[in-house]
Amino acid sequence: MENNRRSFLKFAGVSVLGLGSLSLLDGLTSDDVIASSGQTSAEATYKKTANALTAKRWGMVIDTKKLSGKICRKMEKACHQIHNVPHHENKKHEIKWIWEAHYKHVFPGKQDEFLEERLKELPIPVLCNHCANPPCVQACPTQATFQREDGIVLMDFHRCIGCRFCMAACPYGSRSFNFRDPREAIAHENEKFPTRMKGVVEKCNFCAERLAVGKQPACVEASKGALVFGDLADPNSEVRQLLKENYAIRRKQNLGSNPSVYYLV
């Protein structure tokens, strides 16, 4: 009797396991079908928008000499409005894509006792560096954050599980987490751009959605020439010209993440 019962339990256990793995396999294969039907279904093809701006490696040069608090706030406002970045009253839940900080916070490893006066109190914009060797992409367990061919480090909000490993990995504090529903805290929604949902990480996307329709990033447009955006891989681009003629620094470049945002000081 005892033996019968045990073998029955074993059989039942194995069956449950089998069914479980079967459904897992089922899930995997059906996903393949989804992916392939999206990609190769008979006559349909995907392509880039005709007027899209393209590059091998997008980058940005920030000229601190042209900066002012007014410009910084204009950039921040433009970016956050276009991308439906919520404004939570509770600072703990804060979400920001681009914001201003002082030199000692932007470049904590380059603190100087006798720093140039101008730099001490100057508001400097900080944003995602779209590193060529991004630690956040390495850390993400689902490839929800990934590097596009043109160097832009993006978030796939549909896939993010909200583990926040990318936030621990980012050496620049460029990422924010939706600790609560963002929709409650968006004053003027931009109908053309999606919001996020609670429980996912977000950050600057170098205006990927604007580049696709031939527009410069919103902050660059608002910057009155302080921010220049272009292809770092093209020696004739404006950003490369600026870097050729000026001394530029990057945030924590000793870490090897190879940021794509340069600061002229």
Partner: protein, 127 residues
Amino acid sequence: MNDKPKIIIGLIIFFAVFTFPFWYNHGAASSAPEPLLSDKAKEAKHCVRDADFMRKEHMQLLDGWRDRTVRDALRVYEIDGKEYMASLSNTCMECHSNKADFCDRCHEYTSVEPYCWDCHKYPKEKK
């Protein structure tokens, strides 16, 4: 086998719980709803793909749109020589501006809750 009554009672309870949805909805079966087309959709006559494909595979199509747009910057979907921006809010909802009558009817009937609308917008409906 003095446990027989207990086992039988247990089985009956299990059976009752397991088949609860059938008892609960007994007699309440309703026919599948038809999605309603907005005027603009009626006028356009054809969708991105034919109606049959869209009915069966719109979720796969949207999944493909989403992945290609987000991950590969391929935002244009080309088929039969026509090009569409692969965008739920800005392409689909342009014609199908009646989410409640077009999307929700079937989704509610089939008890699926797509989380598209947690982030993506749909046109406000005039009642």
